[in-house]
């Protein structure tokens, strides 16, 4: 294809993305230096760095930032380990493997708000089955989403339930590309199952898993639907991530300038992850 034709083919999509994404981002950056109540008749007022200064002294913002990072790192780490474990479990053929692979697709394809509602019922202290099950096993009932201490770990647990399958799928795809001869040779040389896993599987899957972890981290940072539908950031702000706090500041408190500043900080955090992804990509060429 020649140059002009390439541009012709690519330009509608490129133009659309620039109009629908690049322009709004620039607008948000500008808005973060302004004060605006969202009124379409009263124009935004320029306030310089005030919004950012307020944020630095805002405990709720700093907590939300830390919480966003904790949520992401914690959930993704567990998802990686469990995802690989489930992949190794499902890798070898067995009767019903097709069905098993369909089942693990369900959590990541189902509508997040619906999943949130289902888990609200599952974890409900009085009518939910989860507490009945664990008290039946002789363990103490848990407050789950209703306690300030357990709400964030509970949401992380749900994220793990929802996204471990994605890690499993990526690991399975990666495992399918590994050369069988290497394993056979290692087995002939007397390497045990653990050694084969440690010395062959992990190094060869490394690039795939790094890419998976970064892509998943970017999505986990942005988690909104389930948290907003289940807790709205509560109790007492204890499940408020940057995404939720930004939304509440803008669309519930009508401080759009300050909300924009929160979003800009949030952008920067996501950008760090994206840059790391791009760097690793150019080294290993795993994701394009």
């Amino acid at each position: 294809m020649n140059r002009r034709l390439r541009w012709l083919f690519a330009s509608p999509a490129t133009l659309f993305v620039i109009l629908a994404m690049v322009f709004p981002i620039l607008y948000t950056v500008r808005l973060s230096f302004q004060s605006w109540s969202g009124s379409l008749t009263r124009a935004p007022r320029w306030v310089g760095l005030d919004n950012y200064r307020t944020l630095l002294a805002d405990g709720r913002f700093l907590d939300a930032t830390a919480r966003t990072v904790i949520f992401t790192v914690g959930a993704v780490a567990v998802e990686l380990v469990l995802g690989l474990a489930v992949a190794l479990l499902l890798e070898r053929p067995f009767r019903g493997r097709g069905l098993a692979r369909t089942v693990i697709l369900l959590p990541l394809l189902a509508t997040p708000v619906a999943i949130g509602l289902a888990w609200l019922l599952m974890l409900n202290p009085t009518v939910g089955p989860v507490n009945s099950l664990i008290t039946g096993l002789g363990l103490p009932a848990q407050p789950w989403l209703s306690s300030t201490h357990s709400v964030l770990p509970t949401l992380m647990l749900i994220d793990v339930w929802q996204w471990t399958p994605m890690m499993t799928l990526l690991c399975l795809a990666g495992l399918a590309t590994l050369p069988a001869e290497t394993y056979e040779a290692a087995a002939v040389d007397g390497a045990g199952a653990w050694q084969r896993f440690r010395r062959i599987t992990v190094p060869l899957l490394g690039p795939t898993m790094t890419a998976a972890v970064l892509l998943r981290s970017i999505d986990a940072l942005k988690t909104f639907d389930i948290i907003y539908a289940m807790t709205g950031g509560g109790p007492v702000y204890q499940s408020e991530t940057l995404n939720i706090y930004g939304y509440i500041t803008g669309f519930e408190q009508f401080q759009f300038g300050r909300a924009a500043a929160i979003v800009v900080v949030f952008f920067l955090i996501v950008l760090v992850f994206a840059i790391v992804l791009a760097k690793l990509n150019s080294r290993w060429g795993v994701v394009r």
Partner: protein, 265 residues
């Protein structure tokens, strides 16, 4: 012994992933009194919750809204995404590829305020047009991502032959490349549809009463009902079921699409 252990583990793992769905369906078929007293098995089942949701809360209208928005955004994403993916795959336009794929990474919360203002100026606030436009930003990157990997894996022999026979590049693309790429087009279309169907944040801010799609309608249903668990679960099942049915039928395609590009074979 080892085999029994392995099968038991598999069954337990699958049960954990399935449990919330089973519970959701079960609760949606039970009377309120049965759910609150913790009796989910035995006794009679009822469709009353679904009647409440569809008759009293007009869920049928929201199903239509969701369908209209998801179908249009998928169709338009395919229309502009397929040629772009083809140009990227054949012409190596890395910067263009990055621009489009960054749309997947940008936090949606930073886009909704400017969109709201823009749509207001354009007189499009709360219309289907505005909903389709913002949903396209969700579905387009999926189409481009899946299809540029698919096109790269496709041999150029056929289109070269077609062009030697006098077909133009556009003709070769439409008549030769696209039919050969049907599995990829189906995959990317399904994924684009599902992620538009599931979208919550954009719709929460930008939809109006008459264009509200299912996830937002379901969310507002929480406030209406004094924790009517049966009704809530009937709503949740109605939203999730179409997606799960699609997943059952085209499982293999979806897996291929979701893992596209992450693994170099």
């Amino acid at each position: 012994m080892k085999r029994v252990l392995r099968y038991t583990t598999i069954v337990v793992v699958l049960a954990v992933f399935l449990a919330p769905f089973l519970w959701m369906v079960l609760a949606s078929l039970r009377r309120h009194i049965d759910i609150t007293s913790g009796r989910l098995f035995g006794g009679s089942f009822t469709l009353r919750n679904y009647r409440t949701v569809f008759d009293d809360f007009q869920f049928g209208d929201y199903v239509v809204n969701s369908l209209v928005i998801a179908c249009w955004s998928t169709a338009l994403s395919l229309l502009i995404g397929l040629p772009a993916a083809y140009a990227i795959a054949r012409g190596g336009m890395r910067r263009t590829a990055m621009t489009i794929l960054v749309a997947r990474m940008v936090p949606g919360i930073g886009l909704v305020t400017p969109w709201y203002i823009l749509f207001n100026y354009a007189g499009l606030t709360g219309t289907y047009t505005s909903m389709v436009i913002c949903h396209m930003l969700v579905s387009l990157p999926f189409v481009v991502w899946v299809m540029m990997n698919f096109f790269e894996g496709l041999s150029t022999d056929f289109e070269d032959a077609a062009m030697t026979d006098g077909a133009g590049p556009l003709g070769a693309f439409v008549r030769i490349v696209l039919p050969l790429s049907l599995p990829g087009v189906v995959t990317s279309g399904i994924l684009a549809f599902i992620f538009s169907w599931n979208n919550f944040l954009f719709s929460l801010v930008l939809s109006s009463k008459s264009t509200k799609p299912l996830p937002v309608a379901m969310y507002s249903f929480i406030g209406y009902s004094e924790v009517d668990w049966g009704g809530l679960m009937a709503a949740a099942v109605s939203v999730t079921l179409p997606v799960l049915v699609i997943a059952l039928f085209v499982q293999r395609y979806i897996v291929a699409g979701l893992t596209a590009g992450a693994v170099k074979g």
